[in-house]
């Protein structure tokens, strides 16, 4: 039997980094955003290799808690965790104890008993990620809470804009559509301001809150923009009989983004899911100007960067990412 030679310092746990969550773009500084985008870029390079898996987060656990339907966000968080070699556990509200009346707090406590490193949560109610962050030791990432915030969407949008235009500073983005009910718009407006881009909000007056920034009601206003960011009419978040617009027919007649309303060179983005023919003309959605698929691809590497950033400290170097690959 070999004697174990114990050096006292070896047995100390690593210093706990300051526990951080990503609940809102408002929690981030410009440095944070730039660091995350550059980390995402490093991971994008790693995704060009044949073996796309990095050992970085081996042995870590990322739990996805989705209380609202999602295609892009849930799949990309799951894939991001897997590409970093973390274990994943996907929890969906339907078919779980939530159907038996379990509260969000109890569900979060139950999941926390597995000692997850990160809990990714999407929930229809504003404040749900904050509640989870109060009861768990895990890092919490907000994957969308009601009309409030969707910070990783804003980060992937910045990443896509930077990839398409080569810059963020001074870029002009027109966000068109149902701003009032959009957590994507709220996060994106804050994120664009943070990096020195400018924003115009375009849409029907009741759906464009004056407090959020410069606004215009005529669709012509998109002509000034480098990027036209199109939003869906979120009918599921509108109260019965609220009459935000008289009809979808009138909405699309006045605000649908059509090829005729765009000028050459403009880029078009949409967070999905699209309602073709309502807020975006199918010819625009399928054109080269549309960055919709690039956005989805950016979602993977940006979410890898977010997980990496929460669970490690300091910026990742390209060499490091390539080396560990």
């Amino acid at each position: 039997m070999t004697d174990l030679h114990v050096v006292p310092g070896d047995l100390l746990p690593p210093a706990t980094p300051e526990r951080r969550h990503l609940l809102s773009i408002a929690d981030l500084t410009r440095d944070d955003v730039e660091r995350l985008l550059s980390t995402a870029h490093s991971f994008a390079l790693s995704q060009e290799r044949e073996n796309k898996k990095l050992p970085t987060l081996r042995g870590r656990l990322v739990v996805n808690m989705f209380f609202e339907s999602s295609t892009r966000t849930s799949s990309s968080f799951e894939l991001a965790a897997k590409r970093l070699s973390a274990d994943t556990l996907s929890f969906k509200a339907s078919g779980s104890s939530v159907d038996k009346g379990e509260s969000l707090k109890d569900t979060a406590l139950t999941i926390s008993a597995y000692d997850p490193d990160v809990i990714v949560i999407r929930h229809p109610q504003i404040g749900a990620p904050q509640l989870v962050s109060r009861v768990t030791e895990a890092h919490v990432v907000n994957a969308g809470d009601g009309k409030h915030q969707h910070p990783t969407q804003a980060l992937l949008d910045l990443y896509s804009i930077q990839a398409a235009l080569g810059r963020l500073e001074g870029v002009h983005v027109a966000i068109v559509g149902d701003i009032l009910h959009s957590r994507v718009a709220r996060s994106l407006v804050q994120a664009l301001r943070l990096v020195g881009a400018s924003v115009t909000l375009v849409g029907p007056p009741p759906l464009v809150p004056a407090e959020l920034g410069e606004r215009a009601f005529e669709i012509d206003a998109i002509a000034e923009a480098d990027v036209v960011y199109v939003l869906r009419m979120q009918r599921e978040r509108m109260e019965e009989g609220a009459n935000y617009v008289p009809s979808l027919r009138e909405y699309s007649a006045r605000w649908c983004v059509t090829p005729e309303r765009l000028r050459p060179g403009q880029k078009v983005m949409h967070p999905g899911p699209m309602n073709r023919g309502v807020e975006i003309d199918p010819r625009v959605a399928d054109s080269d100007a549309a960055l919709v698929v690039d956005q989805v691809r950016a979602g993977l590497v940006v979410r890898m960067a977010v997980l990496y950033d929460l669970l490690t400290t300091g910026p990742v170097l390209v060499e490091t990412a390539m080396e560990v690959a």
């Binding site: 969000l104 109610q125 504003i126 404040g127 009309k147 409030h148 915030q149 957590r183 709220r186 109260e239």
Partner: protein, 433 residues
Amino acid sequence: MILVGRGGADDLVVRGARVLDPGEKLDAIVDVRIDGGHVAQIGERLASNGHRVIDGAGLLLAPAFVDPHVHLRTPGREDEETIETGTAAAAAGGYCAILAMPNTDPVVDTTDVLRGLRARAEHEAAIPVGFTAAITIGQAGQQLTEMGELADAGAAAFTDDGRPVASAGLMRRALEYNAITGRRLALHCEEPSLTRGGHMHMGAVSAELGLGGWPSLGESLGVARELSLARDTAQPLHLMHLSARESVEHLRAAQAAGVEASAEATPHHLCLTDEAVRSLDPNLKMNPPLRTADDRAALIEALNDGAIAAIATDHAPHSREEKDVPFEAAPFGVTGLETAFAALYTHLVQPGLVTLETLLERMSAGPAHIFGLDRPRIAIGAPANLVLLNTGATWRVREERFRSRSANSWLLGEKLRGKVLLTVAAGRVAYEA
């Protein structure tokens, strides 16, 4: 009698406190002796007559407080508050009398329910309590309650608190008919078509957070309507928990035009703004919601000049499971009885926004006058309704210290200045720190 509950005939001497009763023009460092539950003597070096002596040196002795707006949650939600715990919380906050709201289950809309509550309070209440009754049956806004019978059975006032009387026609009828009761109508002003889906004040912060807005106009439109009806019917009324500058402006205009309109403001509206909601802490969710710094300034100004003559806590207990949910899913309401004086002393008196005298007046004589209760006073022969305060002491608000059965306080964890040391209510020592 509007108030029910245990009084007492305690004997006591408080020695050397600063005795401050603005209504009696009394501000002196003297001794106060209480014989058999009544103020017997005020002066220097009083004989103790064998009574218990409390050293008041460095402390403040004032008329105890009156809270016209408390939710005791009984009957129906005794898990959140009972007559016993709610009045114990009030005693710990320095109160000698409170009025309980009728939005219980069942609603206090019949004399049977009212008499039942009053009978229980005789034995259970730590301090005298008055029970208000609903304006409409079930607070449903359709049919007036038997206001005359309810008044005879001891209803302290009439209110559909928690919701407005939606029909202007019915509100007008209630004002007219209420002339026979001699009690106040206390109104929760809200235009529901403007506040539906609202979780916080509609403004810059709600736009940024994405929370449904509850606009100032949702209150002030209701305030304007009720004041117009009061003027038209020449009847008095009381406006509850005012929160918006526009509401205060309507109130001032009506008062100037001779309408007998009174109003109250809550500690949370006087101390906080909607900026606090950024934390998404459900204990910052109340109806009406926290408003802007400008609205807060208007409330403080009205408190100072007397347009708003009462401070009311709108103490609204909620169970932990009801509040441990996302902000958007949480019910409205926060507790306040045990923190009111300290919160207001810390946030209004210390920064010089309101004088101590004004604060004491609006927490005691003001609400008592509006609701026809005897003013708590420090005068020879008066029933002993006193609070002994240490305005130099600081303390931290902690959940486990509450006497209330609920802990949904907007002040949890906060350090406050001003501590209630002793409350004497209707001649009985109801609380000692």
